[in-house]
């Protein structure tokens, strides 16, 4: 028993350290872009050391790929109305809390080609899932515009900090929600 507890504690400790490193990496990649961010700076912010960061993640590129991996929104399925509701819920969450991984990926994609691929892959996976549920000849275009609207709102609110987009998520969704309905029903 004692041995098992020790192992569990070590696994748990490593997981916590990895989480701290990933959080620090997201912040620094987001603030400074890929090129200017060093393993040393990430280690310092995470309260760790560069050797451990390299041992856990292998390279700056691999650490970036993990830090910027965009979490999927969850399954999108059902009637057009249900899909619109699920998309609205996912968008509300992105407006309420800065999606740190997505923003780090977006920031870096403009200077680092691997990041562009990461954003494209995440958005494409999400969009194909939506397109498959929609009917009409223009389903792919409509699902693309859904992706573009979502991306535009997240960037305009959290990065550009555009006028009017500092409203509450509820006020924003009162305007954006009906657009999602229109796009899902076609």
């Amino acid at each position: 028993m004692r041995r098992l507890t020790t192992v569990n504690t070590r696994v748990e400790q490593r997981r916590r350290t990895e989480d701290r490193i990933l959080t620090a990496a997201r912040q620094l990649f987001g603030e400074q872009g890929f090129d200017r961010t060093t393993i040393r700076a990430i280690a310092t912010r995470a309260g760790s050391d560069p050797g451990l960061v390299m041992r856990y993640f292998g390279s700056k590129e691999k650490l970036f790929a993990q830090a910027a991996a965009i979490p999927a929104d969850g399954a999108i399925e059902g009637s057009p109305e249900q899909i619109a509701e699920q998309l609205a819920a996912a968008l509300t969450a992105k407006l309420a809390d800065e999606p740190a991984a997505a923003l780090a990926a977006l920031r870096a994609m403009f200077t680092h080609p691997e990041a562009a691929e990461e954003v494209r892959a995440a958005m494409t996976a999400q969009q194909r899932q939506v397109a498959a549920q929609l009917s009409g000849d223009d389903a792919l275009v409509r699902s693309g515009v859904i992706g573009a609207l979502t991306l535009g709102l997240v960037i305009s609110r959290h990065l550009v900090r555009l006028d009017g987009l500092d409203a509450s998520p509820e006020e924003l969704m009162a305007v954006a929600g009906p657009l999602l309905e229109k796009l899902t029903t076609g």
Copy 2:
């Protein structure tokens, strides 16, 4: 007369050189971001020399500000239907041809704070003009969502190259146009 012609020719020549430098600067800032772009690389691509670039533009920062200055869309005014039409025409143009200055500014804004200010200032000016023409308590939010939709479509088409957004500008506007109408009428 001879003297005047010489002066005109010199002015004209300088204008042409400045244009070539600005075009090269837009391409390189867009491809590589602000940090990695050098005055020397810009001069080489423009078929000029670094001394002349500095003499004409003063510094890399000032050259960037001019290269990334986003041209205004022109006056937006009239009834909600007319505004929707004017916005649709401006958006169609941005979908048809890559807006080089806007994309350079967008790419750089993620790594260079001055660029973020440039994008914010251009989008805010445009948006206030639209908001002033709309009625309803949520006019500012709606004009913000118009800006976000436009930004999202331009980035998704020209930078992320999202699925479905490679359709023709006409097919895209068949989907996005009605959204602009809904946003202007409220």
